[in-house]
């Protein structure tokens, strides 16, 4: 996986079956270090886009058609174990979060979220980079 240029933006991919959520994340992410390189509406499309765009950071919904988020997390981590994945889901129970983290996600943000919560979650994720 290509590393971002020094001080250059990190590449962000958004995965969510909701168009309004994808667009909202695109609009609200105001972290200068992130550049949106693509968005996908299901896990299968996300894996294909991941190979093509090689993002550094991914926001991942869990409940999606064709391939769900947890399975997609596993696939992405198998391709690049250094990718940072923030799960963004309405599935607010602890077991779901633990499962996603165990499969390779790095953070969990519950829907619905404010712009501030999203940015804080991404900042926290990037602090691990």
């Amino acid at each position: 996986m290509a590393k971002p240029a020094a001080n250059g933006p990190l590449k962000l991919m958004i995965v969510d079956d909701s168009n309004i959520i994808r667009r909202r994340i695109e609009r609200s992410q105001q972290i200068a270090r992130l550049e949106v390189v693509g968005s996908a509406s299901n896990g299968r499309a996300a894996v294909e886009m991941f190979r093509r765009t090689q993002p550094d950071v991914v926001t991942m919904d869990l409940t999606m058609p064709e391939m769900d988020g947890v399975e997609c997390v596993q696939e992405l981590v198998a391709i690049n174990s250094e990718v940072l994945i923030l799960v963004v889901s309405a599935l607010a129970d602890k077991a779901t979060a633990v499962d996603a983290i165990a499969k390779g996600a790095n953070g969990f943000l519950c829907k619905p979220f404010t712009d501030r919560q999203l940015n804080d979650a991404l900042e926290e994720l990037l602090s691990e980079a």
Binding site: T63, A90, L91, A92, D93, P112, F113, T114
Partner: protein, 148 residues
Amino acid sequence: MLKESEIRTFIEGTTNYFEATAQQCASVGSPYLVTDGNPGAYEYTGVIGISGARKGVVYFTAPRGMLTVLLMRMQETDTSDENIRDLVGEVANTISGNARRDFGKNFVISVPVVISHDERQLTTPHARSFVIPINWRTHSAKLVVCLE
């Protein structure tokens, strides 16, 4: 018999959505009981099916006007039918997520289904439903809880 705490979980799932995405709280009207099997619906409805410890449906139904303004509050300029359906599905998705968190595995909750422009597609499995009015700005929606 439905517990008040169970109904509160569904209400909080709904009002949290408005608070987080629009930064404007929704208020809850006086709940009422409908016993004729026809709690009614607006143009757009997000339905979740529930089985396990309770059986039935919970749905959030709202008029286009409310959902359009809510989208605009989210800085979304595309207020097409597709995005309105997407939005009402997301509200139902949030209600579903809250219920999973609070009720655990005793409740099996389906992925939301969106129904629009055709109330006839919407059926409740029992005659009795609790209807909770959800008021936001000048608009009114309903949360309908129809559980055994």
